[in-house]
Subunit: 179 residues, 2 copies
């Protein structure tokens, strides 16, 4: 088994999209930058998010039972730092960015042209994100230092197509869609 | 809940590194392109790989109990297509690329300057990949259409630093490290 530093050095070479994961509900408001987000299953539609067990966000997400994955557009890169800063509370983090909060999920569903009409709690949605995925946390797994949140996607809010932010070799990079 | 097509359209906007996951052992040789690879825990070092349950590779990986995640360098992009082509067998897939097969894990461990000396079966390692991670499959979870393979990293083989291949908006993109 390799040590922690070797693992981190290796993972620095695995490029990943940058997202801001948000949630609101009985556990309170939270928002955190996350690059450990992964598509799992298309039938049913499930993705996963890995969140450090030692972070406050972890407990909040579990209490709320819902989250929204906002995939950052290149122009929104500053939000990646804003939502990974320590020492500021959740409300202060959300002073940056254009947040649609709360947005009814039925409205988000309509925007995505789905037939979902379920009434669910509202999560903060980032206006102008490449895509925002409103999810129910349907299962969690404790794996070493992190919790894996399995999320069933209830609604999708598509922004205008644009460039993505990717984290690679410990820096941010812009990836433009093909012309 | 959204439908399959909406989910796929949304996931097309979540950029992801392109890897070739390989394995060899009692279940036979296999290699498949995978972009659903995600860092999970650094203590202990665990990553995950999602593989479709209907693919032959899925059963082979389970039988072998080990796999190697090879993170493609930009110049290796053609391998992404080679290892996702249907209708060709595993041996034929491996005719493209420079494969170190078998490489003793103790040698890979030494290259990564780890202290691991465990004797384990050899996985195909892609020479020139940004990084190759030799893993033990320590747990699996069946989630909808896919199996999530939780993998403990036994050894890492670092290639020379270079540009990555990222899949985004249904196309391949090159991401260069910062100058």
């Amino acid at each position: 088994m390799i040590d922690q530093q070797t693992f981190r050095d290796a993972m620095a070479r695995l490029a990943a999209a940058v997202t801001v994961v948000t949630s609101d509900g009985p556990g309170g408001l939270c928002g955190t930058t996350a690059s450990a987000v992964c598509s799992v299953s298309d039938t049913p539609p499930i993705l996963l998010v890995c969140i450090n067990r030692s972070s406050r966000n972890n407990a909040v997400l579990k209490q709320n039972g819902r989250l929204c994955v906002n995939v950052l557009r290149a122009e929104q890169q500053p939000l990646a730092l804003q939502f990974s800063r320590s020492g500021i509370d959740a409300e202060e983090r959300f002073t940056a960015g254009d947040w649609l909060r709360p947005i009814p999920h039925s409205a988000a569903s309509a925007a995505a042209a789905t037939s979902s009409t379920a009434q669910v709690a509202a999560m903060p949605v980032l206006n102008g994100a490449l895509v925002s995925l409103d999810c129910r946390i349907t299962e969690t797994a404790e794996v070493g230092s992190h919790t894996v949140f399995y999320c069933t996607v209830d609604a999708v809010h598509f922004g205008v197509a644009g460039s993505a932010v990717v984290y690679f070799e410990r820096g941010f990079h812009v990836v433009a869609p093909a012309a």
